[in-house]
Amino acid sequence: MEISFRDLMTVLHGMGFGALFMLAFSGAIAELYRMTAPGGPSVPSPREHRLLMVYLVAMVVLAWAAVFSGAYIVYPWYRAVPPAGLADLSSYPKSLLMSSRDTSGWHSLGMEWKEHVAWLAPISITMVAYVFGKYGPALARLRQIRHAVLAFTVVAFIATGVAGAFGAFLNKYAPVRGGTAIHLMTGE
């Protein structure tokens, strides 16, 4: 069983950072909504606050790791320009997609949207973590700030969803492959 270096980095970017960040939203949104819901916001205890703070900081790290690994490791492989006259474009995902009208939209809509909208997530979630850390349990009684924090969290979730969904589709139609083969195990 082998995996190419580029495959491994793509998996790390998409599943290791992006998908884990996406999964973490369920907990963050549920907790922030619980505090924001009308009719009786509950004030977290200092211990609950510390736990949520650790959770949010982990989300911040995952978000920045996802966008930086995507932009500076995977994206250069994706957009590499093939030599003139090359018939087999399988190692040049962007060119492969753009070579057919049936697949060009995956780049012109999918990748061009994904590569920019994804950056809204780390900016937003960093702000959310800062505000939560700064105000602590008192945030539960600051209605306007709570609502703003929740709104930015939801937008970060949407941005991550767009980036993640298009990332998965792009990797279906034009996977980033190549590089050193890494031997994982020998089959039977």
Partner: protein, 146 residues
């Protein structure tokens, strides 16, 4: 647009025009301990306002720079800080710089004060909505008449 009204967060400045959110009755041990320690019954919202508005500005900068890079080849060349990544490197790096600088400047301005949060959140929400629209390629194309 007028700048938001700001005031110092000292309890002695709690006059009629002060823009703050009142605290509800305490509900938890942590909150009770804060109340028992004799802390002020209001909290300066300036640091949160600065962070929220700066996040809106940073997100908007991503969309604006992406549009500029897409519309003008010269801008795209300018934003190519790292050739393998292309204009995306400069678009996002510049937006991060704008975000952090605006956060720093707003924090210095509002760090110990309370501000008119309604205004700040309205502007931040508009900037956030615009950033979502500006990163959507069909909207970018519409603005460029493509």
């Amino acid at each position: 647009m007028n700048a938001p009204q700001t005031r110092n967060s000292s309890p002695s400045t709690a006059d009629a025009g002060l823009v703050r959110e009142s605290l509800a009755p305490e509900k938890t041990a942590g909150a009770k301990s804060a109340a028992q320690s004799g802390s002020a019954d209001t909290i300066a919202n300036g640091p949160a306002a600065a962070a929220i508005l700066a996040a809106g500005i940073g997100c908007f900068a991503v969309g604006l720079f992406a549009l500029a890079g897409d519309a003008f080849p010269a801008v795209a060349r300018f934003f190519t800080f790292y050739k393998p990544t292309g204009a995306l490197s400069g678009v996002t790096t510049s937006a991060i710089v704008v975000w952090l600088l605006s956060w720093f400047a707003l924090s210095r301005q509002w760090g110990t004060k309370s501000v008119a949060l309604g205004w700040v959140i309205l502007v931040s929400s508009v900037l956030l909505a615009l950033s979502l629209m500006l990163t959507f390629p069909p909207f970018m194309d519409l603005l460029q008449g493509k």
